[in-house]
């Protein structure tokens, strides 16, 4: 312990932890080899990031040394401790991690060259070897990887040595180039709507990916734009923050209106593919908002959530389709929707009532069971007289809104429909969260026994969460069947429940904005269970990534990308209290405050 000049004792931070570096090297080696064997480099090679320098396939390997070296070099900065002085040792450590990762690949190359175990491992192929050796000789490839890995590791390590400004600039440039490349379909489509093809033709290569010049341009813009606009945004922000409350809420309202108006006209500037994509995202936003009420607010882990989606979809199909095998009233969609909502609510009650008293984990597995039972019933020959069994129900008409019919042929109209219903769902979630019942849900999530003892009828309140969640899912189901036009039991696999859960968790449990962001990022970019996202090439790997993401989120950032204040407090209780204590907010003094 040393005393600094102002008398507060500070602790010397420990030096470089070499064991940590070695562990990260090993992790790097194993992950690189795993990614290679999973077939990502070969499978993703088709997708260009920067033509002809970098493809998604190579990127899937190249991020490993960089990110791991950077992670290995990061350290927790504790209050009251001096930060360790960074030195060239950090560079060496980073390079070591990078080298380790590269060596993993080199070892793999040697093995692939000399042995053939393609029998169980499908990606153990000559193509992999070719790709890894950059289509040259294997020896040259190995040298190349060692150099590349070490360099990237060095750069990853350097992230901690260089000044913060340089670091954040580098990351901005890297991320914006990547983002512009990934969002290619969307950007092209949008700019086409505004007749600005010239720009996209300039930066994008014909068959996908950025041109080198385009990449340079994007990089330059990423540096220049924040310089030009950055300050002004902060100025405006502080000005808004300093406004009186009613004026501020007026500004917020105007922003909200402008935002929704923009969203409403957006579909008209987008092409078919993008509209389709956003409609899919919207369906998942609806589902995720519903699950968010059940899991995020009331703390009930419902793994059979797809059941309500299925009931919504099937009911709409039965009520509107002329091909419905058993009962076919051919109602117009809006009328059917009312029946759908009521019926799904009832199914929510029916499923909810038996499970609601069970303890959390039993509830999870029983709801999962219900989800499967419902799918199996739709699939069964027994009920095929009503639901068509494996053949499903086809020929579902769209939504007739007078001047047009909303159906899958016109993704734009579907997207608009989804937008309207998402707005309704957002409103419902928002209002309920800040109401008597929302508080009761939160109390139940915190401590069910105490909530009960404080007069909250937990059974009814939890059932209400179940029913509201079910109703939101039924919206999604009804739109889904109008969109696709036909409905099969395979559209309602248990997988969907899990994917919705991932969306909610990655976005941020208990947070409306988070859920929307989660759906945009995951469904929009990686794609839904059957719907392709912007990175279509990822379809083979997206479920793997979903799984890994779920685990990683739970371990490192359980509050999600856009955390709910309350949730993150709960998950980081100790850190939160420490912060509050340091800021002097914690209440240690029991003297009555002077009034």
């Amino acid at each position: 312990m040393t005393a600094t000049s102002n008398g507060t004792p500070t602790l010397e931070a420990p030096g470089l932890d070499w064991r940590r570096q070695i562990r990260f090297s090993l992790i790097g080696a194993l992950s690189s080899a795993f990614i290679a064997l999973a077939g990502m480099p070969v499978g993703l090679d088709r997708r260009n990031i920067i033509q002809p320098l970098l493809s998604m396939g190579y990127l899937s390997l190249l991020w490993v040394p960089f990110v791991l070296a950077s992670l290995a070099g990061s350290q927790v900065v504790l209050e009251g401790m001096t930060e360790r002085v960074r030195s060239s040792k950090d560079l060496v450590a980073g390079a070591l991690v990078g080298l380790g990762s590269a060596l993993g690949l080199v070892a793999l190359m040697i093995l692939v060259k000399n042995f053939n175990i393609r029998d169980p491992l499908v990606n153990w192929s000559p193509q992999l070897l070719d790709l890894l050796s950059f289509n040259r000789s294997a020896g040259l490839g190995m040298v190349f990887w060692i150099v590349l890995g070490t360099t990237l590791g060095l750069m990853g390590g350097a992230m901690h040595v260089v000044p913060t400004a340089v670091r954040s600039k580098t990351l901005t440039v890297l991320l914006s180039v990547l983002a512009v490349s990934v969002l290619e379909t969307f950007i092209t489509d949008l700019l086409k709507g505004f007749q600005l093809e010239i720009f996209t033709d300039f930066i994008y290569y014909k068959r996908g990916g950025l041109e080198i010049v385009g990449a340079l341009l994007v990089a330059a813009l990423a540096i220049v734009i924040p310089l030009l606009v950055g300050d002004r945004i902060t100025v405006v922000r502080t000005r808004v923050r300093e406004m009186p409350a009613d004026e501020r809420s007026r500004v917020n309202l105007i922003l909200l209106l402008v935002g929704s108006a923009l969203l409403l006209v957006l579909p008209f500037f987008l092409g078919k593919i993008t509209n389709e994509l956003l409609a899919n995202v919207g369906l998942f936003v609806l589902l995720a908002l519903g699950l968010n009420i059940v899991v995020g607010l009331a703390g009930i882990l419902d793994l059979g959530y797809v059941a309500f989606f299925a009931v919504g979809g099937y009911t709409t199909a039965v009520l509107t389709s002329p091909n419905s095998p058993g009962f076919s009233p051919q109602l117009p969609w809006p009328v059917a929707l009312i029946v759908v909502v009521v019926l799904t609510g009832l199914v929510g009650l029916f499923i909810g009532a038996p499970v609601i008293r069970m303890r959390g984990d039993y509830l999870a597995i029983v709801t999962l069971g219900f989800g499967e039972i419902i799918r199996l019933l739709f699939l069964s020959d027994w009920l095929s007289g009503w639901f068509g069994g494996a053949q499903g129900i086809t020929n579902i008409p769209g939504v007739d809104v007078g001047f047009a019919t909303v159906n899958g042929i016109d993704p734009r109209s579907i997207f608009l429909l989804v937008l309207v219903f998402s707005a309704i769902a957002i409103y419902i979630s928002w209002r309920l969260e800040h109401s008597r019942i929302g508080r009761a849900w939160m109390a139940i999530r915190e401590d069910e026994d105490v909530a009960e003892a404080m007069g909250v009828n937990t059974t009814n309140t939890k059932l209400m969460a179940f029913v509201v969640g079910a109703v939101l899912a039924s919206f999604s189901g009804a739109i889904f069947s109008a969109k696709v036009g036909s409905i099969f039991p395979t559209s309602f696999l248990m997988l969907i429940s899990i994917i919705i859960l991932v969306v909610v968790i990655v976005g941020g449990m208990g947070n409306i904005v988070g859920v929307i962001v989660g759906a945009l990022v995951l469904i929009g970019i990686l794609g839904g269970p059957k719907q392709p996202g912007l990175l279509q090439e990822f379809s083979e790997f997206k479920l793997l990534i979903y799984g890994a993401l779920l685990v990683w989120m739970m371990l490192k950032r359980p509050e999600g990308l856009v955390p709910n204040v309350r949730r993150s407090r709960e998950l980081h209780q100790e850190e939160f209290l420490q912060d509050a204590w340091l800021k002097g907010e914690i209440d240690t003094d029991d003297e009555e405050n002077p009034s």
């Binding site: 109401s435 019942i437 401590d447 003892a453 007069g455 937990t458 309350r566």
Partner: protein, 266 residues
């Protein structure tokens, strides 16, 4: 007000409470004391419906509480605090007392969605009543604290908030489980005074479980002593403190009277 007759509960052969008779009249403050493991908390859990008795009956204002859920017991006017403070730690202080008014309010989903006038005025009323309850403890739980999470509160203030939360359910009978545990003598003296005011200003009837004998002496009209799940003595503080059964329960057999006197009264 509360009549408990011949109440027993067993947990797999262990008699937590045995043939207990107990009553509280309106306006009383009754203390329940007894050595650790005497079944005091079980007794509270039983009244508040968290544990179902094996036999016997609990009658509150002419109605049996047997078979009611804890929330229904609370609705009928009995609120409690917990020995190991159990607040909704991640909800704000105000929300803690707001949620406790759940059973006294009735706006449902419809009101919240359409922002009916009934909903708005009920929300306001809930908030105002919550603030009123909190202001009973001076400025400790009000002002900027209202929007802070309960987890930042000091131990003593958590105990106070727990009492406030119980008050917010608008009970007539308040069950306080060791309200001054962990407080220093000054704080506990202050809380003792507040307990008196809970009766005189708010009209609550109160049952307290307490180990601190000075608090018991100062607040209670009557003291009931439990040991091994049985009521071994009851009466005024002085009567109970001198009861040989009680002294035996606390100190074991063959102990001089003077010593017992020393131990039980501070």
């Amino acid at each position: 007000m509360l009549q408990i007759s011949d109440l027993s509960v067993t947990f797999g052969g262990l008699h937590a409470l045995r043939n207990l008779d107990f009553q509280v009249t309106e306006g009383e403050i009754v203390s329940v004391i007894g050595p650790n493991g005497a079944g005091k908390t079980t007794f509270f859990n039983m009244i508040s419906g968290m544990v179902t008795p094996t036999s016997g009956d609990i009658v509150f204002e002419g109605e049996s509480l047997l078979g009611l859920d804890p929330s229904q017991v609370t609705e009928r006017g009995i609120a409690r605090t917990f020995q190991n403070v159990r607040l909704f730690a991640n909800m704000t202080i105000l929300e803690n007392v707001m949620v406790a008014q759940h059973c006294r309010t009735d706006q449902k989903v419809f009101g919240a969605l359409f922002q009916t006038n009934a909903f708005k005025s009920e929300e306001n009323a809930i908030r105002e009543y919550g603030e009123e309850v909190l202001s009973f403890f001076g400025t400790r739980l009000t002002g900027y604290r209202l929007e802070q999470p309960a987890s930042v509160l000091s131990y003593a203030n958590r105990r106070r908030l727990e009492i406030a939360r119980a008050m917010a359910t608008r009970p007539r009978l308040l069950l306080l489980d060791e309200p001054v545990a962990g407080m220093n003598p000054r704080e506990s003296a202050e809380l003792t005074a507040l307990i008196g005011r809970l009766r005189s200003e708010w009209g609550f009837t109160i049952v307290i479980i307490e180990h601190d004998m000075s608090v018991v002496r100062d607040v209670s009209d009557r003291v009931v002593v439990l040991d091994h799940g049985e009521s071994i003595a009851h009466g005024s503080y002085e009567q109970v403190a001198n009861d040989p059964n009680v002294i035996e329960a606390y100190l074991g057999r063959q102990v001089q009277d003077e010593q017992a006197e020393e131990e039980t009264s501070p």
